[in-house]
Amino acid sequence: MFPLISWMVFSPLIGAFLILFFRDDNEKHYKRIFLISIISSLVSLLFSLIIFVNFQASAEMQFVENIKWIESLGVSYRVGLDGISFPLILLTTFLTPIVLLFSWDDIKKRIRLYYFSMLLLETAMLGVFVSLDFFLFYVFWEAMLIPMYFIIGIWGGKKRIYSAMKFFIYTMAGSVLMLVAILWLYFSTGAGTFNILVFLNSPIDPFLQTWLFVAFALAFAIKVPMFPFHTWLPDAHVEAPTAGSVILAGVLLKMGTYGFIRLAIPLFPEAAIQFSPIFIFLSLVGIIYGALMAMIQRDAKKLVAYSSISHLGFVMFGLFSFNLLALGGSVLQMVNHGICSGLLFLTVGMLYRRRHTRLIDDFGGIAKVMPVFSVFFVITVFSSIGLPGLNGFVGEFAILSGSFQSHFIPTIIATLGVILSAVYMLPMVQKMIFGKIKIESNRILTDLNLREWFVLVPMIFLVFFLGIYPKPILNIIEPSAKSLLLKINERKLVVQGIKNNNPPLVSSSTITRRGH
């Protein structure tokens, strides 16, 4: 079989190494480097589309490749994808060429290192999503940090070094504990392999589960980020160059939620069920806190950054309500948030490119000078608010209507977050886009150039497409979500059985009904 996944993951890497052989000292060389990086990311997109065409709607891992790597330690190069990882992979391969295209007007120094880092980042991100081996997963997970660190630290704003370091330290502090947990898991089960699928199918001692879950959850909660661990996010998002922010919000944050759904919850279901009230509480705090913080921001980019905290709160809420509709909605919301927040950062970046400011008060009446841009911007904001018919609505609605069945009061609080998102988004649109032009330098702004059209149109297309007809993605997600939930519910019975001193079968009817 043709190793489709490997080609998809490593074609950006090949491009990255090709770039290293080119000089970057004049405009002509810049163009060459730019083209190579765009092409290699498009090749990756192409492979992901081939996979999309051949994808079977089932819960099984597909396109699995398995090559021995470090045999004596039980480490192998094992990759594959299923309905949970594949939407995120599509998101990654789709976003990367777009941000590379966007970068052309933004990045003026150290072109070669920039595109090298970007392509390295794409490989690492895809690698995280396809890894089915703990060692491989961890390698990609950590390797991702370095290019992102460079992107924030070299091409970022004024506080870039501080922000880059903060981003790095936060993420690494979480993930090294996960490394200890992985090793502990490895030696406690004595399976002699780091194959994730093996661990997913073997029950783990409940005492151990608690500790290991805490370690894994910490790593992922920092990445999401959940409420008390979020402080790196505003710094990193604001200081990163636009392309970096798009990737950060669009893909990197999803790795945290992906980690929960792929590893932390299914590996340690008992612990996850026990901790779920805490996580639901924290995600609600995140929803409200993110929204309130977004409300008081004067910097549009910071506003978008805080809105991410709020939106990811929804995803986490959906994950921990253990309900099929909510779970599917969470995965869908991951993709949707990737598109929405990506678009928001891109549009804010386009304004910044023209005016070198992101303060909301510095704009006003943009609609008069940049009509096309304004239309795109308003659509973006509406999708982020969750207007029906646009993509933002579908995921959030699924999450809320799913969790409503099991968590009544938390759902009401979360719904408050939807209202709040209108409260912080709409005034921004009003102040920036509509009204009179107050500042003279805004009069001479030019509308979108050709490259910016190419950046925005595919994204806006997806906003409508996923909003009106999300079925193709839902078809991918559903079988995997179903089988995951089935497993969790089995565990839930056991946990409840122990708690009530009842044999597990007594309460099975209610729960399994909900599960299907």
């Binding site: 470090i70 060692f135 070299i154 790095f168 504990l177 200890v180 030696f187």
Partner: protein, 494 residues
């Protein structure tokens, strides 16, 4: 009295006489060769290392082979360390060729000293006899004292040399005293026989006193807490080549001796010694990492970083009883990776010299290197990332390996402390990257033209750099062969 000729396994013993003879040859050649031909000394010493390397490869012991009644012990562990020490000496000799100051001093002497130090380290890793450990230690220590003060006109170098010598002799005294006490209580200096005689001994307290003196003496050589004080000064003052050399081999050699001592005493004193080393390991890595953050001089920073790495290596030592070959294998793999990434960092420092030949000593002076010398900065970034233990470099696999030994032996807390320490270390390793790539002063930095001519002195150092980069990366991406090699390197006493 009848003289019994000792058993000698010539095939496994061969590397030692080859290297001894070769080192003497290099010295003699340097004395008698004309000035024209003297340049060949470099090639001669590389050839000596190469032949020794081959002779090591040829002997592949299935079991351990004991010559001279335990004075010389050759097993898989020994062989792997031989190879690592020889490779690191080779890289150091390659990088030494760009040091212009050698022209006023004698380059041949320098090479001879490197070879003799290598010999000392090799003897140290291949014995189970305490007396032999002491002799080997003195052989390489004396060479290192001279090497650290090799530039006679350098004041700071003299200080480093004297400091190293005084403290080093003090530590040797401890070691010798410890050996004497052990001999007094058990009647033997052979680690294998000590196991047997310990039970009969009535002086168990004296024995443990001797053992702790031994650990103090060797702890000084590896630079463990609280015997690390000499490290920063000596690292800073010594010629960069010598610093690179003493940062890997001698530590590996002293560690090997500690490994054998711990294996020998594991039967009756494991818990006490384990606890002691556990505490030393935690303190060593924590102190090393915390102090390194505040360093302004890059060589001092690397000194403290090497102290931190000794802390990680001590984890492998703690776990030797429970984890067995996983522990000694992780040690070997770590040292192997460390020799590439750490020596590589020193090669970068040497290559980053300015046009006028002055070294960049302060970290701030590396500012803008990412623009002026992109290749060099890129290599340095790789070494720093590897030292911080971040994939996909060898540094990560090495740490992974050591932590897995710790967790397998049940030292979960030690592993947690160690991984948190490696987060701390990110601060100072990444600071170098920040300085090279992200500082604001970079706008006025011009790209330095870099003339690369094959056969020039510079080209040898560049080759050394390339070897280090390839080693660091390939051990991270394709570690399988070396992991197996390390795992199969059995460590034993008989």
């Amino acid at each position: 009295m009848e003289f019994i000729f000792p058993v000698i396994f010539w095939k496994s013993f061969l590397p030692i006489p080859i290297l001894t003879f070769g080192a003497v040859m290099v010295l003699l050649f340097d004395i008698f060769a004309s000035d024209e031909k003297r340049k060949a000394t470099l090639w001669l010493s590389i050839a000596v290392l190469f032949i020794t390397f081959i002779s090591c490869l040829l002997s592949s012991p299935e079991n351990s082979e004991i010559s001279f009644g335990g004075m010389y012990l050759f097993d898989g562990f020994t062989r792997s360390l031989f190879l690592i020490i020889l490779i690191s000496s080779f890289i150091v000799i390659l990088m030494s060729s760009i040091e212009k100051k050698f022209e006023e001093n004698s380059y041949g002497d320098f090479l001879g000293l490197i070879l003799f130090a290598t010999l000392g380290m090799m003897l140290m890793v291949s014995t189970r006899n305490l007396v032999m450990i002491f002799i080997a230690l003195e052989i390489f220590s004396l060479s290192l004292y001279v090497l650290s003060g090799f530039f006679r006109s350098s004041l700071i170098g003299n200080e480093a040399s004297l400091k190293y010598f005084l403290l080093g002799s003090f530590a040797s005294g401890f070691l010798l005293f410890g050996i004497a006490l052990i001999y007094g209580s058990t009647g033997s200096t052979d680690l294998f026989e000590i196991i047997r005689f310990y039970e009969l001994s009535s002086q168990k307290l004296v024995f443990f006193l001797g053992l702790s003196f031994l650990i103090v003496g060797l702890g000084f050589k590896i630079g463990a807490f609280p015997f690390y004080m000499w490290t920063p000064d000596v690292y800073q003052g010594s010629p960069t080549v010598a610093t690179a050399f003493m940062s890997v081999g001698p530590k590996a050699a002293a560690f090997a001796a500690l490994f054998r001592i711990l294996i020998s005493t594991a039967g009756f004193s494991a818990n006490k010694i384990e606890m002691t080393i556990w505490i030393i390991a935690v303190l060593t890595m924590t102190v090393g990492n915390l102090v390194a953050i505040w360093q302004k001089n890059i060589k001092r920073m690397l000194a403290y970083s090497s102290i931190a790495h000794v802390g990680y290596l001590l984890i492998a030592l703690v776990t030797i009883k429970q984890a067995g070959t996983l522990s000694s294998g992780s040690f070997l793999f770590y040292v192997f990776v460390y020799s590439f990434m750490n020596i590589g960092a020193f090669v970068v420092i040497m290559l980053a010299k300015r046009e006028d030949g002055s070294e960049r000593t302060n970290i701030e002076e590396f500012s803008g290197l990412g623009l002026s010398r992109p290749g060099l900065a890129f290599s340095m970034a790789i070494f720093m990332i590897a030292l911080a233990g971040i994939p996909p470099t060898g540094g990560f696999v090495a740490k992974f390996y050591i932590f897995s030994a710790a967790i397998k032996s049940g030292f979960v807390w030690l592993a947690i402390i160690a991984v948190l320490n490696s987060v701390i270390s990110v601060f100072y390793y990444l600071r170098i990257i920040v300085v090279m790539y992200m500082n604001d002063t970079e706008e006025d930095v011009k790209k330095e033209q870099f003339r690369f001519v094959w056969g020039s002195r510079l080209s040898y150092a560049v080759v050394a750099l390339v070897i280090c980069v390839i080693g660091t990366l390939s051990l991270g991406i394709f570690p399988s062969y070396f992991v197996d090699f390390a795992l199969n390197s059995n460590i034993s006493l008989n």
